[in-house]
Subunit: 481 residues, 2 copies
């Protein structure tokens, strides 16, 4: 657990100062001078605090990897509950739900022809086990589009390999959707072809010899259907190796044995931590990250960082002499990686109260600095979002689109139910070098970059929660329930 | 195999040009203007050629990892023999020798207390197997010096873990000797303490989740004694993780099962490829790299690059209209990683002829650019080495010490027998991020940096081989046999 003894109380600007000052924001009555100064104090405190880093250090060290539905994820919930109490949240609870458990198990995969060589691979989420050792010739597909052309039965007694290109790196991570297509839907085409197993070039941008895991997508035409065959991602250098051998005209064969499988229903849960609003306690500003991680690394950037950033931001706000007007709720979502299961469970459990969720956002894009604030709220509230952007501008954050729905993966079910969202967008250029790989470990986080995130969240969430501005869209808007 | 069809013949400066030109090197009669121009043509050809990269691509792709004594190393020798013939060497041969074979086998290692977590580890070269699954409490040692203090029997029924600091990165790789101490001699102290196994923080500078393999050292007092216990290196992020848990006061326990073991005598060998000298064929300028690699990666930077650089340099010289005066010999040494076994076998087999080895050097420090030329030759020959440095100066290479014994790992037995050496020192700053890890793969080599190496070797070796200058020290020098 982080040492919170040294966390100082944060000064709130005196009412007098706010009344007497000639505000530089006099033209924007949506935020008072007093609120601005409090937000600035929060930012300063966040930049000087180590709390965010201490939280992610504690989570990754004391709990370790936290596969959805595992015993470790349960320990993480208990850790989160205890942390919330220690940090002074007014209400802390755990909301459990059930889910099907997929276990990675052990994998052996090796090139057998033209010679024997171990490959660095991992099973993809949802994949079936091999019943016994599979050894078969490899049929090479340059990309997922090529595999889609395969006729039924063409891959009988074969292993399909989907190659592809290394993902394009960008600040927004825009290349990932394309790169992860082969991971998501490749199995459906390999099965149609009759393949005994599928191997895919890892999604992600890492040039290191790590496979990149992640869930496959269910069959679009049969929502209960997962793969009946093993599906294995191999590292990018290994995929390059197979490509070069293929291009030399060498017949390839591979052996593999994978124990990955579904293991029935287990418990997961969300940790809910509230700072109860001083004037409108029923109105909820929801922030959070997800507590589960893939099991290959220790889930530092995905998403220990998000849990730490949002928890630390709220903990700093908790040190103010007075609670903001609205309730600030931090949710540590369970089971995000396997299909937003915690987010769906939350939306269902709170279904009748979603109308009181006035704003929601999640941090789930690593630990590098935030560079942009985007939003999707009532048009009347845009001046407030603009003012929030103005206040956090010294953190090198620009105002982006006011028509950017989303708010983070776990916010999707809320956003679909009409909850307004913002997003503090992080620089994701290096995120896909780490996320879903064994390399997602604490040492990859820069404490200063993390602190910039905490500062932005603390200021933005404080200002949103201490406001009377209505973020919710008018009820005639069909998106709102 | 590389495509050598497009390798052009290299122009040699006409005798006329050399006679008529007002040489800018008129003050240095040790190299003629004609030789300088030939060396410059060789450098230009090397920078324009892809041969070096094609050779390392061929070796790593068509052969793969090449553990000393393995079937793969045998395939590599056959590959080298065929390559030497294709590239136009005058004599190509394989000299076999026998050696004890150490096999890595499979390893499972996991943290068990305070919770279960897989660790990323690998057995160290020479380590014994676990007879069965070992599960034991971990005793933490901050560094190798702390373990040296342990009393006999103090580690009974325990697993020792040697932590340490990440190695200091430098152009010369100077931090590696210190960082690898725990790998080399740690087992001797762990055994004395009665430990069931030893875990060490990986040597090397990689921040990625790869263990770093390498040979242990034999017992200084008992040259036939290898470890009786499993010895496992874990990745630096894993070692950080254990350190943090230890610092939190958590009792640690680990389970491990390792199949690594010695498996008796096998064959290895050196590939010898000669460009026979046109005037003094009995005098040998020896260059080379080592053909074996550790088995975790594909041995691209260690030492596919060295094999490729020296072979490509000699192949360019082979395209000159006339052979240099002295013989240029490229040796692809076998079994370097496990104790310079190929180098020792070479020195023994050629013992009576070492007096005719007039100069030797090896490329075995990765694939980044060369920045310095150092030497250890007859003082009378220093002006020639200085002139060689002058010629290769446009490649951004400076002249270093003229009293730097060595010449590369596989040159040590020759240097100890009095063979003069030079070394074209590479920038090794990033070398220890890759070497001895699974990440030592082809994609880590920049073809342009590799070509700079080929250019430097081609020019320097041509000039040394086409010279009459005596590199050998006078016989009264005790170092010379």
């Amino acid at each position: 657990m982080p040492n919170i003894k040294n966390l100082k109380r944060i000064a709130i600007s005196s009412l007098l100062a706010s009344v007497l000052s000639v505000s530089t924001y006099a033209e924007s009555p949506v935020i008072s001078q007093s609120q601005i100064e409090t937000a600035e104090n929060l930012m300063q405190a966040a930049l000087e605090s180590k709390l965010g880093f201490e939280i992610v250090e504690s989570l990754t060290t004391e709990i370790g990897p936290r596969l959805a539905g595992s015993e470790a994820e349960k320990r993480a919930r208990d850790w989160g509950f205890k942390l919330g109490k220690e940090l002074g949240f007014d209400k802390v609870s755990i909301e459990e739900f059930t889910m099907p458990f997929w276990d990675r198990g052990e994998l052996h995969i090796a090139l057998q022809s033209p010679y024997q060589q171990e490959l660095y691979g991992t099973a993809l989420g949802g994949a079936a086990p091999s019943k016994s050792l599979i050894k078969a010739p490899v049929v090479y597909f340059r990309d997922i589009e090529a595999l889609k052309e395969v006729a039924s039965g063409d891959l009988k007694n074969k292993i399909a390999f989907i190659d592809g290109d290394i993902m394009v790196k960008s600040q927004t991570g825009a290349g990932y959707g394309q790169a992860s297509q082969r991971r998501r839907v490749g199995w459906q085409h390999a099965e149609r072809g009759g393949a005994k197993a599928l191997i895919v070039r890892s999604a992600g941008s890492s040039s290191h010899r790590f496979p990149h895991t992640g869930m496959m997508s269910k069959d679009a035409d049969n929502a209960d259907k997962w793969s009946d065959i093993p599906v294995i991602a191999i590292s990018i250098p290994d995929a390059d190796h197979l490509r070069r051998l293929h291009n030399l005209g060498k017949p390839l064969s591979v052996s593999l044995h994978s124990a990955s499988k579904w293991k029935g229903e287990v418990s997961s849960g969300n940790v809910i931590m509230d700072l109860v609003g001083s004037e409108k306690p029923e109105e909820i500003v929801l922030i959070g990250g997800h507590l589960d991680s893939w099991d290959l690394g220790t889930g530092a950037v995905d998403d220990g960082a998000g849990v730490a950033i949002t928890t630390a931001a709220a903990a700093l706000i908790a040190k103010l002499p007075k609670r903001p007007k609205r309730t600030i709720r931090v949710v540590m979502f369970g089971a995000e990686e396997v299909g937003l299961l915690g987010a769906r469970a939350y939306a269902k459990k709170h279904e009748t109260n979603l109308k009181n969720h006035v704003l929601a956002t999640e941090s789930d894009f690593g630990a590098q600095t935030i560079w942009q604030l985007v939003s999707d709220v009532n048009a009347e509230a845009n001046p407030l979002i603009d003012e929030i952007a103005h206040v956090i501008r010294p953190l090198d954050i620009v105002r982006g689109s006011s028509q950017a729905p989303g708010g983070g993966p776990d916010i999707i079910p809320l956003a679909m139910a009409g909850v307004p969202t913002i997003r503090l967008k992080q620089n994701g250029r290096d995120y896909f070098d780490l996320h879903h790989t064994p390399d997602d470990t604490l040492d990859k986080i820069d404490p200063k970059e993390l602190a910039q995130n905490v500062a932005a969240y603390a200021a933005a969430i404080y200002l949103a929660a201490d406001s009377d501005v209505e973020f919710r869209k008018p009820v005639e808007d069909k998106a709102a329930k």
